[in-house]
């Protein structure tokens, strides 16, 4: 096993307490960040293989996926990719849904479909002795789906129902992407689909999309855990042996235009004591030069907002923010659920703090903490083997190098204060902000003017 390493120096000391109890021990220490260093190979036929060895537990996480290009789905087909990747688990040519589930069960596995904007994949975690059979079964499931008409209609109906049951904050978060980029862009299309787009999808659409995407030239397989890379390569080649070549060449990006106007939208939901807020800003694609600067800046801003809302006022359980950078562009998001009686104050606070951001000088400890927080979150995202396998596969889908995670650590460590300030000023600005609120219509209509963004557009969201 090889690991990338980085160390970040923390220089915090807090005052001890004059209570007669033992004083606080020193904790100015180096925090090691170990991130997986993947090996990447291109197989015959163009498929990509990503491996990461870790023998500490008798487990192997395996993911088998396909790259999706922005042009594979039209705005009217929003949700088609999610439907296809999940529907492959509803049966293969040789096995119906129950038998397929039993086949995975015999390996001790529960397959899961993951869908991103750049593609999708099936993933399982199994004991090492089942790894060869598992990758073969995953490849067969993806290669030879049944797509039975009845199962597809059932899957669509379940998807509509599941999306309708989303937590209001999750709903706000999903909608803010569309608010920022517009529904016609590949970045802004409702990722999970809507009741309208999903119900229009037919078996023909699903089969055609599957045929467009299926091919070894678009395939990615990743292994993480107790696996020998030589075996992993052999198993991957065997699993893809009967796959068609598929379309070759690098993926075509479809860079979405950023809308010229910002939006403030709302979904009326009664019976909530809180208003659920999602705030979005268009951002850069994954791997862009100022990505890390904005990540750290966003964390600085969100930490201060959370401190105000939770620790100072108690009007929210917390606020969080993240930068979701994708192959074709990115989105900076801040979410919070706030006591509806405090909505106006919260919105004023957000506007005021964004206006001050350009002149705000974070203290050295704040800056160090935000930088550490980013690096630590990178470690959290690859803490489990299935995360490691999935993240490795997604690096390929996003056209990022296999050592991207470790490169990024080095870039974060090299960030100067001016880099963070510049990226933050460029992206976290009121003029580029869109807001989505889910909650009581009266409360939102009455208090949203505090944003100074004009009247709220209420959306008729059927789910």
């Amino acid at each position: 096993m090889t690991v990338g390493r980085a160390a970040l120096l923390l220089a915090f000391t807090l005052p001890g307490c004059a209570t007669g109890l033992a004083p606080a021990p020193a904790f100015t220490q180096r925090a090691e960040i170990r991130l997986p260093q993947y090996r990447r190979h291109t197989l015959d036929g163009g498929a990509e293989l990503i491996t990461y060895m870790d023998g500490s537990l008798p487990l192997v996480a395996i993911s088998v996926g396909l790259r999706t290009e922005a042009a594979d789905i039209t705005p009217e087909q929003a949700g088609l990719d999610g439907l296809m990747y999940r529907a492959v688990l509803d049966g293969t040519e040789a096995m119906d849904a129950s038998d397929l589930d039993d086949a995975f069960g015999a390996l001790g596995a529960k397959p899961r479909a993951v869908v991103t904007q750049e593609g999708g994949y099936l993933t399982v975690t199994v004991a090492p002795e089942h790894a060869e059979a598992a990758v073969k079964l995953l490849a067969t499931t993806l290669r030879r789906p049944r797509f039975a008409e009845g199962e597809l209609r059932d899957r669509i109906s379940r998807t509509v129902q599941r999306e309708g049951a989303r937590h209001p904050r999750v709903l706000a978060t999903a909608l803010v992407r569309t608010a920022v980029f517009g529904p016609d862009s590949s970045l802004g299309r409702p990722f999970a689909g809507t009741a309208a787009t999903l119900s229009r999808l037919t078996r023909r659409d699903v089969v055609a999309f599957h045929e467009r995407c299926l091919g070894s030239s678009r395939a990615v397989i990743s292994f993480a855990g107790r696996v020998n890379p030589v075996n992993a390569r052999r198993w991957a080649e065997q699993a893809l042996a009967d796959w068609p070549l598929g379309r070759s060449g690098p993926p075509r990006s479809s860079v979405a235009p950023v809308p010229g106007s910002r939006r403030v939208q709302a979904v009326a939901r009664s019976g909530f004591s809180q208003v659920h807020l999602a705030i979005g800003f268009p951002a850069m694609a994954a791997g862009a030069a100022d990505e890390e600067g904005l990540e750290v800046g966003l964390r600085l801003y969100t930490a201060r907002l959370a401190g105000n809302l939770r620790e100072a006022q108690g009007t929210s359980y917390g606020a969080e923010g993240w930068l979701d950078t994708r192959r074709d562009g990115g989105l900076a998001v801040i979410v919070a659920s706030v006591d509806q009686e405090a909505l106006e104050d919260t919105l004023e606070l957000i506007v005021d703090s964004l206006e001050r951001l350009s002149i705000y000088q974070p203290s050295a400890p704040e800056l160090l903490r935000a930088r550490a927080d980013f690096l630590l979150s990178s470690a959290r995202f690859v803490d489990q083997l299935d995360d490691v396998a999935g993240r490795g596969l997604e690096l390929v889908l996003q056209n990022l190098p296999a050592d991207f995670l470790n490169q990024r650590v080095r870039r974060v460590e090299a960030l100067a204060h001016t880099d963070i300030a510049a990226a933050t000023r460029r992206h976290l600005v009121l003029q580029r902000m869109s807001v989505v609120m889910v909650g009581d219509a009266h409360v939102i209509a009455a208090q949203a003017p505090a944003l100074g963004m004009g009247p709220v557009q209420f959306l008729a969201v059927s789910h």
């Binding site: 096993m1 807090l14 589930d101 039975a148 209609r153 939901r269 006591d339 489990q384 009266h442």
Partner: protein, 444 residues
């Protein structure tokens, strides 16, 4: 130079050996201590579990244990230390706390070099003085708790467990008997309530300290002695812990959910606690019922023509009682009575047996994988260790999970279903979507 831990991972034929150099002991003041090295990452996790939860809240004071969990991160007028400030400054990978039926636990994962700080902070939490509590901070925390409850339970997706818990353990939750709106119970909790709770429950002989991760055993023992051994044992007896009485008649709850949400049927039973021999049996039963599309409820209710769009069964292992849940999301138009009959028929079949060897093999295989996967989650691992210490006082049986799963056979599952998953001990919750017109009117 390759660090020792990394070298072991590279060259050890079976690195799971790294988990077995563990130790457990009890300090003179009654604090149970467990240490488990895990050298895979440069982190160390410290967890302290106190035997106080929702079920220990005094009559008329629901929510007290949970509110105190929040307050204990703050300083007081007398002692201004602030756990949040220290941990965020000390590069904590993750820190949090939770309150369940019978336990409040605090955990942090941070760089191995900061083990001393984590232990120091937890020793402070164990011996803090609540008499000088800042009234303004108390009010802020009340608001935060209120927002947490709203955030977790006001959405329809999370309301079911609340209904279930309120019905299974009446009066024990801060939202019992309310519409979730005022959370009046939290508002009446006073500084004196908080002081009494701390005195009764936050004491070394009512707690377990677990250290998991990358640390040197000798150093950990020395630090634990330094920070915890001097905390005096409490004079009074430990607060009693008893399982809540099981229901003797079926309880039924119905409520509306927002338009757009699916109708949902939930059946819940209190079942034996974590580490009871029946706990493993319950896990296998849940897997046989709803472990996937091929499981019994999956085959009966899912897919075209089935009455459900989703089925779940789970044994939520806890102490002093577990809860077994079966949840069925209804297809539009499916009748409650029909779904209930289908679940009952499936339970009846499982109770009568026989259970096929193939389906048992699959259920056990999935649970074995799951048991290995949970070893990756340091906090969950630490929680399990704390439970072992509470129940057995040592870690001798910690590696027995796989064996416990393997020992479960078909007749054992059938006996469990007949003994525990019976109509007169269950709560049935039916959630019905509010009619569209009413929802639209309310939302305007």
């Amino acid at each position: 130079m390759i660090p020792l831990g990394l070298a072991l991972l590279l060259f050890a034929p079976d690195a799971t050996e790294l988990f077995t150099l563990r130790a457990s002991y009890t300090l003179k003041n009654g604090l149970r201590v467990a240490l488990e090295p895990d050298l895979r990452q440069p982190w160390v996790t410290v967890l302290v579990a106190y035997e106080v939860g929702f079920l220990h809240d005094p009559p008329g004071r629901p929510g007290l244990a949970h509110l105190y969990e929040h307050l204990s991160f703050d300083g007081t007028d007398f002692d201004p230390y602030d756990v949040d400030a220290y941990l965020s400054a000390a590069a904590a990978l993750e820190y949090n706390a939770s309150t369940s039926l019978g336990t409040t636990e605090y955990h942090v994962t941070l760089p191995r070099e900061n083990l001393a700080l984590a232990l120091w902070l937890e020793s402070r939490r164990m011996q803090r003085d609540e008499q000088r509590r800042d009234a303004r901070r108390l009010e802020v925390h009340r608001r935060v708790v209120r927002n947490e409850m709203w955030e977790r339970f006001e959405s329809a997706t999370d309301r079911t467990p609340l209904s279930v818990l309120n019905a299974l353990f009446p009066g024990s939750f801060p939202t019992a008997g309310t519409s979730l709106g005022p959370l009046a119970a939290t508002d009446v909790l006073s500084s004196e309530d908080i002081r009494q709770l701390r005195l009764r429950h936050y004491r070394p002989d009512n707690a377990t300290l677990v250290v998991v991760g990358n640390f040197r055993s000798g150093e950990a023992r020395r630090l634990i002695d330094e920070y915890f051994a001097g905390i005096p044992r409490s004079d009074g007896p430990r607060p009693p812990i008893s399982a809540p009485p099981a229901l003797t008649a079926e309880a039924q709850v119905a409520h509306d959910v927002d338009h757009g949400q699916p109708a949902k049927l939930t059946l819940a039973w209190t079942t034996p606690p974590f580490l009871h021999e029946q706990d493993a049996v319950a896990g296998v039963a849940a897997e046989l019922l709803a472990g996937g599309r091929g499981a019994r409820l999956g085959r009966r209710l899912l897919g075209p023509g089935g009455g459900a769009t989703e089925v779940r069964a789970v044994q939520r292992s806890d102490r002093p009682s577990s809860v077994f849940l079966v949840t069925v999301a209804a297809r539009p138009g499916a009748a409650r009575a029909d779904l209930r009959a289908q679940v009952d028929a499936t339970l009846d079949e499982l109770g009568r047996g026989p259970i096929g060897q193939d389906e048992l093999f699959r259920a056990r295989a999935r649970l074995r994988t799951s048991a290995q996967r949970t070893r990756q989650w340091r906090t969950l691992r630490a929680q399990r260790i704390a439970d072992h210490m509470r129940v057995y006082g040592n870690l001798d049986r910690l590696d027995g999970e796989a064996a416990r799963i393997e020992a479960v056979d078909g007749p054992a599952v059938s006996r469990f279903v007949r003994a525990f998953l019976v109509p007169n001990r269950r709560v049935i919750v039916w959630e019905q979507p509010r009619p569209a017109a009413a929802a639209a009117g309310a939302a305007r």
